[in-house]
Symmetry: C2
Subunit: 462 residues, 2 copies
């Protein structure tokens, strides 16, 4: 608990920024998408980088933890104040400073919502490729902090590929500018990408210069049904092994289809036990050709059926199955454990086989779907928190899941990040020398350890 | 000078690696593409990461500088032993360890030549997009160390975009593994990209896992002539402002065309004072459409003429003008100063106007050409080293050139790097806070300062 004198001094220090300290207000900043809650002692709503700097200077001097926060849409607790202290919200810093068509860049503050930027870019015929499922509410600062991705990444890459520069505030309040406005730039070490994905543990990103891509003129959607998850996994591998990759390759497993059937969201032939949803994009003149090539490739494989949307309405219907998944899962299994593993595309089939075995042996239903073109699956363990015997199994289940992923040369997180949820598993993935260097870099950037403590990396052994 | 006892101990330490110490042999490792020479005291030819580690362990203990070296094709002295000591050659580590078609990755040792990898990838229908002009001889380790790019970067990005993981040896001999085999991976800080572009000052990269792209089925080449460099710069901006960018957009200025005419390499109408060479790529089914769209866009602008190659022979003829430039420049101006500046595409016209003014005022011919689609120009100052009055002007000319580039929000180097040539200008571009952090990171990775000393960053003030 922070006392009244402290709050008074903090308000003095941060000048015009808004300070929240009423319990009801603090409650609004205690949550994210994990379902876990940690209440902060105070919340600062910053309007500008100077206020961010003032907050950090004051908190470093006082030894108070600062947890940067965008929209709180994260899945790993990255924005939760594990040790209390101050939550520093960037949501008010939501100015789109510049959109430059010729240079294909946008300069934005960290609190701009991903979808708001996309909307503003449309008239310029441009967009920013990273598209997390939470795009309608997540902020760009959060996207950078977690190195967010999404379905587009199959062809267009992830956040780190679409950032030219950042402005950030260090733990001691100094303003850092890194990178610039050009796609080529090899002067100095790449601090820009060191901050991207560092989950607010090295600095607080306040603004960024983003690289933009031309908005594809046209898109075509396809749906392929398979008699087994193994056949669908093989089809993904085949599609990714030749030619231009599709823009999107989403996979839904047997258990996911069962859930969709049960909820009445989708009618499918009984033999269909796995599904791929795919999209190609290009110019009006080329997109049908691309769709035809992909359709033929899928049909020459083991698909039961391949359907191609004839118009936008049919395309929307195809994608509806993917869009309803999260709400349905929340309804049927509010306390599910949602993991975000990734393996090389060639290892999708063994991953899926391993998940089936794990589910079979433990009796815990596992629903897996996601960005298969990158080998990135969202694996949902449908545990019932009221069932003590099942809950006692969870640590073993996670350990077996992560062990499986690492044995297939994968990673514990493709796009959700580490946060507090996976912190204690990081050392199983990272090379010990790399981990030590990362902990030393953390100590260099944040010697007092006030920036988002307890996230991203296990603590350094003394 | 290293004495005989030292050389004997070094040979003992490095085991099976080859140690060169004969003056004639050392001379072969004293040069790169800059024309500047620094002779090492000894050269180690390593066969494996263990020998690299042994060399570094020994040299750190002895306080001897180690300069990692690939093929010596760099343009900024990055591979030159500024302070003598040991040159550590990675050229013998030239194994292509794995090519994986389904995962679109290649695992290679640092000494593999760029073109050799491309050749090995062809049967798989894949390639690695970064294509420095020196691709036929430069090594992939050098490409990573400098974050090399090339003409392809307009559409396909630079080295940092096509690397999934690295294996490197730290100054104290510890082996570091970073990244992995998947395109999505957000566990831990991005040490992979911290090493890319660090010019061998943080660690010695010994192997890497590269992301691969599908080899385009077809390419089409176009040539556009303009009455002025300003008109050509405007055309670049226009081409880059809408739709899919071409795969390659190369620019040749007035002075470059004059040089080509003088050498008899090219016949052009008198009015042509600037030229663009462009390439589009795609599938057989789509490439002609892409070429037609680009041709129409260029024709609707101020081009004097737009020609499209009808076949491979005509395409080769178009690109011949670009290919002969370096040899011609070497012949006519062996002591030219070759800079590698980059500005946002919208600032190409003011950059080129500024270069003309600089040439006019100083009397020094300036020949500029390069990767205009990225705003990256190779600016050649044709100084005559015998002319003392001109040579006295050089520092002022460079200062004006760099001042111009930075005033246009550009960078001092788009792809050649800093090395020793631009080290003393780096502080003009980098934010002082960023520079301080970079120097601290250097001290963290290499506390004894043995790794490529005097490169990339100005020394840290005590």
């Amino acid at each position: 608990m922070l006392n009244k004198t402290f709050l008074h001094d903090l308000q003095q220090a941060i000048g015009g920024a808004t300070l929240l300290s009423h319990p009801a207000e603090l409650e609004s900043y205690a949550w994210d998408n994990t379902g876990v809650r940690f209440r902060p002692d105070a919340v600062v709503l910053a309007d500008c980088a100077e206020q961010v700097a003032a907050t950090l200077r004051f908190c470093q001097a006082a030894g108070i933890a600062v947890t940067p926060r965008g929209a709180g849409t994260g899945n790993v607790g990255g924005a939760l104040p594990l040790h209390g202290g101050v939550v520093l919200s960037l949501q008010r810093m939501n100015r789109i400073v510049e959109i430059n068509r010729q240079d294909r860049i946008a300069v934005v503050e960290a609190g701009v919502v991903n979808a708001d930027l996309q909307q503003a870019l449309k008239p310029f015929g441009l967009y920013w490729p990273p598209d997390p499922t939470s795009a309608r509410s997540c902020t760009l600062g959060g996207n950078l902090a977690m190195c967010a991705a999404g379905a587009n990444a199959v062809r267009f890459g992830v956040t780190r590929d679409w950032v030219l520069g950042v402005e950030a505030v260090l733990a001691d309040g100094r303003l850092l500018r890194s990178g610039g406005r050009t796609s080529k730039n090899v002067v100095g070490y790449d601090l820009t990408r060191l901050l991207i994905g560092s989950e607010g543990t090295l600095a607080v990103i306040t603004a960024t210069t983003l690289a933009l891509a031309p908005l594809p003129e046209a898109r075509r959607s396809l749906r392929a049904l398979f008699a087994s998850v193994a056949a669908a996994a093989d089809a993904v591998t085949q599609v990714m092994a030749e030619g231009e990759p599709p823009a999107v390759v989403e996979f839904l497993d047997q258990a996911t289809l069962a859930l969709l059937r049960r909820s009445g969201s989708l009618t499918l032939p009984d033999q269909a036990q796995a599904m791929l949803l795919l999209e190609v994009c290009g110019s009006q003149a080329t997109v049908d050709q691309l769709a035809t090539e992909l359709e033929q490739r899928l049909k020459s494989g083991s698909a039961l059926a391949v359907e191609r949307a004839a118009n936008d309405q049919e395309a929307n219907k195809i994608w509806q199955a993917r869009a309803v998944l999260s709400p349905i899962l929340k309804k049927y299994a509010p306390k599910r454990i949602n993991e975000d593993v990734v393996v090389p595309v060639s290892q999708l089939a063994p991953l899926i086989a391993g998940l089936e075995q794990l589910s079979h042996e433990s009796g815990v239903p596992i629903v897996s779907f996601g960005h298969a073109g990158n080998g990135n699956l969202h694996v949902n363990l449908l545990v019932n928190p009221a069932d003590a015997a099942v809950m006692a199994q969870v640590p073993m289940l996670l350990q077996r899941l992560f062990g499986l992923v690492l044995s297939l040369h994968g990673s514990l997180s493709g796009e959700h990040g580490v946060g507090l949820q996976k912190r204690d598993f990081v050392a199983q993935e990272l090379d010990p020398v790399a981990l030590t260097l990362q902990q030393q870099i953390k100590a260099l950037f944040d010697p007092a350890g006030i920036l988002n403590p307890g996230k991203a990396l296990p603590p350094r052994l003394p």
